[in-house]
Amino acid sequence: MSLAIETIDLVKTYKHRGGASNTVVDNLNLQVESGEIFGFLGPNGAGKTTTIKMLLGIIGQTSGVANVLGREAGDIEIHKRISYLPEKPYYYEYMSGLELVIFYASLFGIRDNDRCKELLRRVNLANDMNRPLSTYSKGMQQRVGLAQSLINNPELLFLDEPTGGLDPIAHIEIRDLILQFREEGKTVFISSHELSDVERICDRVAIINKGQLVAQGRLTDLLAGGRVEVTAEGVSDAVSDSLRHENRIVSFKDGRLILDAPDSDDLNGMIDALRNGGAQVVSVIPRRKRLEDLFIEAVAEDDTAKGRQRGRMTDGNSDGTKSAEVEEVKTGEGDPS
């Protein structure tokens, strides 16, 4: 499978007045395969939008490599094959939906009004395409944004918070459209906070925190290792003691036991142990790991690790040892977003 996006040690550092600097993206290594829906997650200020801007060539990287569709990010030829839907986009409100799509089509040199109308029909704006954008709801604005992003039949779409702030129906509509893009062989790169959406539609995800990658992989792999809850009755003290020794017990009261089994081997072993000890297994319920759990775990672990690192550095300084050096600033000025 070829890579639609690849970043190698990508760094973005902003230099502020007075000499201070802020590394917003820190040695980021991403691999997005062609034809997949890739979720790019992270808390606010993690560096998601900055990364997208670097991949689009809107801002330059401080160091590292960013390749999009096999070429260097920012190559104008690549812009003919990609598209971008920003977070909370504003469009020229005096225009109608159709005029807006015609405008964006003209930037590609496309003069095909029928295609523009077809795209608006595809995003369910057939009856509203001649209304001014100022009268559009949030969901309609997002749909017209998707229509404009499809005008060049892109191979790769960058969608920044495509379902942010939408009502449940608009959510489902946008989600279904994104799934259709995958069926058409397009690669979709989604930056989102809507973890339930990401979990439903993405093939692979990456989680960044404070500019650094903390997890990346297939959702099925990352969410593997979900637990199974086993409930049994008539459990003897001897059996409960042996399970307690293995730290498997969630609760044990009046001979009723609830256990946690991380994988199937453990599960079979536990059920055998319970039944051999005369207990009766009442229920076996798989508790699947959710993306939300993974996200919180990954971000919290990273924060803890960084907190420890900071602590060590502070101790080091008090001992007169060298503090962590600020990454060299090669380019860039301004604020991260």
């Binding site: 689009l56 809107i58 812009h79 920003p86 909370k88 964006y104 003209s106 930037l107 404009q148």
Partner: protein, 262 residues
């Protein structure tokens, strides 16, 4: 070129709907309409005062429109994120900037045309349809338009690296220096009584700041005795000066904008 024209068309569409510009335009039109009722002088004096008044209104309102129109143009695109959807398409930054400038100049042209039409109609209604004077008024308005195109280029240049409010005062200041204080700086530059350093500084200001004052050709209309020698060549030179200066400013703006992180 497709992209440049599309961006220019969109900029024009947006500019002519901006309320603040429409308010300034409306006030200007109102002043032009009521100007004839604002003096009670003799017929000869009346024509001179009326011409000064209406041309003054035209110039001042055009300058305010030019600055207000252009100082917010690029920052607004960044703030509203429209620039990202445009620059993620196969559009180069210089194309974006040129498109914005051409759109602004088109909007300026439309507004100046509307004010000029009103001015000519008002003048004809109160002073009679003197074809020669009316043609001269149109010529003056045309020079104001070139002047405003230059001012818009100055504001676009500054908008690539300063905030809108700073740009408002900076562009306004440059316009004032190039219009009202131009002759003052010329006098300082030529005065032998002043220290060499002061004269050099005045010369530097005159070299950098565009000479907006030379586009004020209203004297040839207001004072019936005044005439421009070699009118055709003079106007051609003004146009060439404007085009060269605008090109330099836009080139500078493009170079800065190309390196700027938006």
């Amino acid at each position: 070129m497709n992209a440049v024209l599309s961006i220019a068309r969109t900029t024009l569409g947006e500019a002519i709907r901006r309320r603040v510009l429409l308010v300034i335009l409306l006030i200007a039109l109102l002043l032009l309409v009521i100007a004839p009722g604002m003096n009670g002088l003799t017929a000869r004096q009346s024509q001179t005062v009326l011409l000064s008044l209406i041309l003054g209104v035209l110039q001042l309102s055009s300058a305010v429109i030019a600055i207000v129109l252009t100082v917010y143009m690029i920052p607004n695109e960044v703030e509203r994120r429209t620039i990202y959807t445009i620059l993620s398409k196969p559009v180069l930054r210089w194309q974006f900037l040129l498109g914005k400038y051409l759109g602004a100049v088109s909007a300026l042209g439309l507004m100046i045309m509307l004010m000029t039409g009103t001015m000519i109609a008002v003048f004809a209604a109160f002073q009679g349809p003197n074809v020669e004077t009316l043609a001269s008024l149109a010529r003056v308005a045309m020079m104001y338009f070139v002047q405003m195109c230059l001012l818009a280029a100055v504001a676009i240049f500054f908008s690539t690296f300063v905030q809108p409010v700073v740009n408002f005062f900076l562009s306004g200041g440059v316009y004032l220096v190039g219009t009202v204080f131009g002759s003052l700086f010329a006098t300082i530059a030529e005065s032998q009584q002043l220290p060499q350093l002061v004269r050099l500084a005045a010369q530097l200001v005159m070299l950098i700041v565009p000479n907006f004052g030379q586009y004020n050709v209203q004297n040839s209309v207001i004072n019936s005795g005044a005439q421009i020698v070699g009118e055709g060549i003079y106007y051609t030179n003004l146009a060439v000066y404007g085009i060269v200066y605008i090109s330099i400013l836009l080139l500078g703006a493009m170079l800065i904008f190309d390196r700027r992180e938006v």
